[in-house]
Amino acid sequence: MRLQTPANRSSPSHVRTAPISVFCDCAGAPLFCQGTGRLPADLFWRIMKMTPIFLRLAIWIAVLGAWPAFAEDQNDYPTAVRAEYVFACMASNGQTQDALRRCACSIDTIASLLPIESYQKAETVLRMRRSAGGYLGEVFRSSLSNTMVRDLQEAEAEAEIRCF
């Protein structure tokens, strides 16, 4: 199963470090999501159970206080954007439950690494390269455009490692 071709070629050493996510890599509902992140939700609950009541309140206050920064870190992509990616990914990798899981993991990873604006910039460049006729497409091959695409490719390379 293969994801983005250019990303396949880029070496993992070029991959940017992911922002540290405390509980798991799923965006949107970090406290409750299931998955294979570094500190999954069930672990969080286990820690909470072992914690004395008065400390649990303090932990909740800390967690909720950190929420807005969290949401920002997680670059909450609109559901339509994630669904669109999964559609494309499954068209390429198969209409199976397995592909769905991997493709969803892939876009969630990308969303955790790349702000939505950067994602849309890269997407626009790739789309215009494919489609803008003649010299109209020229500016989408400039070094600035290459940089925009590289950001996405690096996130995709990381997604490849984590999900495929």
């Binding site: 293969r2 669109e84 990616y85 494309a88 068209a91 494919r130 489609s131 003649g134 010299y135 020229e138």
Partner: protein, 608 residues
């Protein structure tokens, strides 16, 4: 008369149309349009109105409530590639066009866009490679109960507006030599006007008038050639107030190069019913290598004002003599009456690809203002406005950025704007409320290396290698600006990450709309440029925003679709046939999914 005519055509045959279409009936078409364009509920021409202001008198959607806009309905065209232009609304019917294969749909607005009829011409796909810049089409025109479409293969076709049946069709040029149809026709009185694309193939440009009744060619005026070909009177036709004299075009070309000289007419047309003049611009001279075609190359890069009945040119103005950068002069001519120097003037305002905005008196062709509408423009310092100067009206070219000066096989670097201009065909809008022009722009520069090229009919005749990059000093490749054409000053400027290739719309509600390549429809405050609303459509927007009213409710609509569905950008890499296992099958699957490509998104306010 018009009603009975449409019914006749709906019933029937070309013969009946020939029999029943008297000149009186045909005459009424243009008069109807003059009345119909005043009704803001309709959009009866691709330019919104004859004056190309792209201003709508509708104000249900305004600065206070535009933030609440929602998608009312969408329509998928089923065609990928760039969707330029915008739909028409005539009564209860919307007419939507597509890029190649140039389908036309009639949609029933009483039933959320149900398809009433579809026209899809059979065209030779060999026309695709001779389209320089994507397989675009900028729209259809309406008049006399017919829909007019200039197809990629230069077939001009008249369809019955009620049934989609072909009433007549005529070939306007030869795609075999690189001529194509991309522009939106315009109907004036009893004629329909079309031009041609093909500057990259040495196609000599022309504007032609066809009788809307039967498709008979009435006149054709070339951009280059003999006075007879040009439809000029050497004594009466003027340039900057002086007669152009005999052989004005031939004298400015070496030998018979004018025959493959370009100057194509693929932009927008506007019309002043009082002055009875049709306005349009001609494109770049062919080839892109200036060394190969010495002289001013008249009348490429020129604003024309012609009598629509006879085609005779009243005045001309060449903006970029001897073009060295591919700065086509085809962008729209916006006709607006504004006070200047203490009196009302009949103005023509034109945002040229060369980065200068020109304000002229549209009755006489007198040049009033020529100013840069992007500070990045560097190929010329200014346009000489001294009437006594021998260079009056000409740009003062900077040697460093002159590709003629640097010469063949040498790279002229850092020229601003790039070949696609500070603005391309995507039309600007004008609001009589604010007196400002709203202009989608490119903020991109280029390196340009001309080389010698020989002409073969139907083969690219370009002769230059280009690379493009954002203008120095920033990362934004576009701006959406508000422009004062009387002073030649930018009032406000909203930076955009990418060039803005969507046409603007100004409304009485104080809201200006445009689209972005990321796919956002944006609404901004006409006074300040403040963003009031944005919505992500399924694909990049290079279409023109339009608004209409149906059943007492205002709608805003725009075509998106450049590169198809947004996810395809990612999918393209993902499905590279060389990518490895599984990818080839995936490519086919994805193509099926993305054939949903171009989309018309229609917006409205939620029920209150």
């Amino acid at each position: 008369m018009k009603q009975s005519l449409s019914r006749t055509l709906a019933a029937g045959t070309i013969l009946s149309s020939l029999l029943f279409t008297g000149s009186a009936g045909a005459q009424s078409a243009g008069d109807d349009l003059l009345k119909m364009e005043k009704n803001a509920a309709n959009v009866v021409m691709p330019t919104n109105s004859y004056n190309n202001q792209r201003y709508s008198g509708l104000d249900q959607i305004n600065t206070r409530n535009v933030g609440k806009l929602q998608v009312a309905w969408t329509f998928s065209t089923g065609v990928l590639r760039g969707h330029e232009g915008g739909p028409l609304v005539v009564g209860d019917t919307m007419y939507v066009h597509t890029p190649f294969p140039n389908s036309v749909f009639a949609l029933d607005l009483n039933h959320e866009g149900r398809i009433l009829w579809k026209y899809e011409p059979k065209q030779d796909p060999n026309v695709i490679p001779v389209m320089c810049c994507d397989t675009v089409n900028r729209g259809v025109a309406y008049g006399d109960g017919k829909i007019f479409l200039h197809q990629a293969d230069t077939t001009l076709v008249a369809l019955d507006a009620k049934t989609g049946a072909v009433v007549w069709s005529v070939k306007t040029d030869d795609p075999g030599k690189g001529a194509t149809g991309t522009e939106a026709p315009m109907v004036i009185k009893d004629k329909v006007y079309v031009g041609v694309s093909g500057g990259e193939f040495g196609v000599r440009g022309w504007l032609a008038a066809y009788a809307i009744a039967d498709g008979k060619e009435v006149w054709r005026a070339y951009s280059e050639g003999t006075d007879k070909d040009l439809l000029v009177d050497p004594q009466k036709t003027t340039a900057l107030g002086k007669p152009i004299g005999a052989d004005s075009s031939l004298k400015t070309w070496e030998g018979d190069q004018w025959k493959i000289g370009g100057g194509d007419t693929w932009g927008w047309y506007s019309y002043d019913p009082q002055l009875n003049l049709i306005y349009y611009g001609s494109g770049n001279p062919s080839t892109w290598n200036p060394k190969q075609r010495p002289g001013d190359n008249k009348w490429s890069m020129t604003i024309f004002a012609r009598n629509p009945d006879t085609g005779e040119a009243k005045w001309v103005y060449q903006m970029t003599p001897h073009d060295e950068w591919d700065y086509d002069g085809v962008n729209e001519m916006i006709l607006a009456d504004q006070e200047m120097g203490g009196r009302m003037r009949q103005l023509l305002v034109h945002f040229d690809r060369n980065g200068f905005s020109y304000t002229l008196d549209r009755a006489t062709g007198e040049l009033l203002v020529a100013a840069k509408y992007d500070p990045a423009v560097n190929w010329a310092t200014k346009v000489d406005m001294d009437k006594s100067s021998p260079n009056y009206g000409r740009p003062e070219v900077v040697a460093k950025y002159s590709t003629e000066h640097t010469g063949e096989d040498a790279n002229t670097q850092g020229v601003c704007p790039a070949a696609l201009g500070t603005k391309d065909e995507q039309p600007a809008a004008f609001s009589p409320e604010t007196g400002l022009f709203y202009v989608p722009t490119n903020h991109v520069c280029m390196d340009y290396e001309p080389f010698r090229v020989s002409y073969t009919a139907g083969q690219p005749y370009v002769g230059a290698t280009l690379s493009m990059f954002p203008a120095p000093g920033g990362n934004n490749m576009g701006n959406f600006i508000a422009w004062n054409a009387r002073t030649g000053k930018i009032e406000w400027s909203d930076p955009e990450q990418f060039s803005v290739w969507s046409g603007a719309l100004a409304t009485k509600g104080g809201v200006v709309f445009y689209g972005t390549l990321e796919g956002y429809l944006k609404a901004v405050d006409a006074k300040t440029g403040k963003e009031l609303y944005k919505f992500k459509t399924p694909s990049g927007i290079i279409g023109n925003v339009m608004t209409y009213e149906h059943g007492g409710k205002q709608y805003v609509a725009v075509l998106s679709g450049v590169g198809g569905w947004a996810g395809i950008g990612l999918a393209a890499g993902l499905t590279d046939p060389h990518a490895g296992l599984g990818a080839v099958g995936g490519y086919a699957a994805l193509n099926n999914y993305t054939s949903l490509g171009g989309t018309l998104t229609v917006f409205a306010l939620p029920p209150s």
